[in-house]
Symmetry: C2
Subunit: 342 residues, 2 copies
Amino acid sequence: MSHVIRFLISMAALVAFATVESEGQPMSDEFLIAIHGGGGVRSRAAMTPELEAGYRAALRAALEAGHDVLSGGGNSISAVEAAIRVMEDSPLFNAGKGSSYNAEGVHELDASIMEGATLDAGAVAVVQRVKNPITLARRVMENSPHVMLAGDGALEFGKEQGVDIVAPHYFFTQRKWDSLQRRLDQQTEFGKPTSRDSDDQLDPGLYGTVGAVALDKNGNLAAGTSTGGREGKHPGRVGDSPIIGAGTYAKNATLAVSSTGLGEYVIRIGGTKTMSDLMEYRGVSLDEATNAVKDMIEEMGGSIGVVAIDRQGNLSMPYSFNGMYRGYVRQGGDYVVLIYDE
Amino acid sequence: MSHVIRFLISMAALVAFATVESEGQPMSDEFLIAIHGGGGVRSRAAMTPELEAGYRAALRAALEAGHDVLSGGGNSISAVEAAIRVMEDSPLFNAGKGSSYNAEGVHELDASIMEGATLDAGAVAVVQRVKNPITLARRVMENSPHVMLAGDGALEFGKEQGVDIVAPHYFFTQRKWDSLQRRLDQQTEFGKPTSRDSDDQLDPGLYGTVGAVALDKNGNLAAGTSTGGREGKHPGRVGDSPIIGAGTYAKNATLAVSSTGLGEYVIRIGGTKTMSDLMEYRGVSLDEATNAVKDMIEEMGGSIGVVAIDRQGNLSMPYSFNGMYRGYVRQGGDYVVLIYDE
């Protein structure tokens, strides 16, 4: 690049920066929460009315938990935690109670949380026996000098912090167990799409992850993500969910975002931080940023879904899948819960 | 930001993008390797001639290992691995053999490696008993479908892969053990600067990390980082070193970079990915990108040091500390080894 062009770009960037800093866009004075329960959903053929009602009710309950925090004047980080806890406690999603098994039939959970005002963040990876990893991630953020704890040390910290610790059997669900056995029987290679991935009978939680993003009345953003990780993963595998800048990012000046998909791709490009940087350094909109990263992931052969919001109350929820469990509610607005393209 | 200004910025960005893509800068046809052995060095008062000679010899040996790979036509990822293995095998640096202890007197090691041509990456976190974590990180990249493995699962994968596994005592060094005892006696809070941090007698490995970046004859970049982590850390703590986009990043279109410092800050802003994005989306130079992130980290109250190179053979090595163990060598050039500001 010639020096002249570089100079022109630098000038344009400075103008953009100065503009964002001095003027900004009007901040929304209304709260907003958006959630996802994982990208890649049970096909319409395999979705019974009962099951669909169950998913919709669980997503609605998660939104209500977050909404209650925000309407009561609570902050965005508490709303994110509350919404994610509801999904972690449901057997329907691949997080907490409903987590997928790793290749050895063990549950190893990942989660992270971040607040946009301070860039404070907390994360736990491959943690066993913690009922609500999102709460432990928040404790790491608030009560430790660290950002991320993994494995036995994370469990130990959870015990020190008095979070709910459960027996391994708590995470047992018959359908996840059966799904693992089918996968192991077929020795399906991790991360490679197979015919079973389009099988209507396949447990759709394979790609699952849950996440939430919130904007509170004070204009502060927060984001969080929690998962059991990819079914059949190698013990110790860390996906994108607990990686700040991959599965989760929040920065008041740009966005709050949580992603779902095959995390290995998202880690390699720092998916959510890239969205933030596109907004900050190239001046694109929220929707342009999320779709640009979705395109990058798809070009690499991966898939991704996100829920993202900015401080102006914009909402963006693109995904690569046949659908994504998702929903949102604005202050004074209706609850919106979606599964397929709508 | 007004739509007009956003449009102008988008146009400038498009021009920048098109320019980079279509013209690019002339690629260097010469290889280059740069390394660091950690930021924050023993003060001149506490540095004996013997010890300084030892550091210089170890850094030189690491550079030679990488240089030998590159001059023999080897690729940048192999050069990075070779250089880091030498520093891991030295008792002088906080990585591999010389790693700091965690709060319970256990060594838990982190490492990551990435290649700029493909964005392939591998990482291990809180892994015990693995002699060369950088090699295990490379095996994760090349021989698993995952990017990151942590804890027992990472050790198990190392055994499957046949990497060198050693007894815990291998990592014992008297000075690291003594340093931990002093720290625990004083109950120094993690991450908070204390009077001891400026003590001439303090083991300087507290902040240590090792890293390498290389450019091979084919114009491909690679980067890697390895560490024992911060002394006295909570068991399970994951620093920035194994996080792609925090401690390590490599992308042919932008840079290869490895960082050292207090990793919690670097994780929160995705330090190395931010450098890459500043170059890609704002069109700044390598040196402007590394220094911009250094400024961000320092404004947050943290500290960072990096070695970074780009495909044109530019080199940038800023740091926040009193010095940084570092060095580089270019094809046909002299070996340069530095410790203090020079």
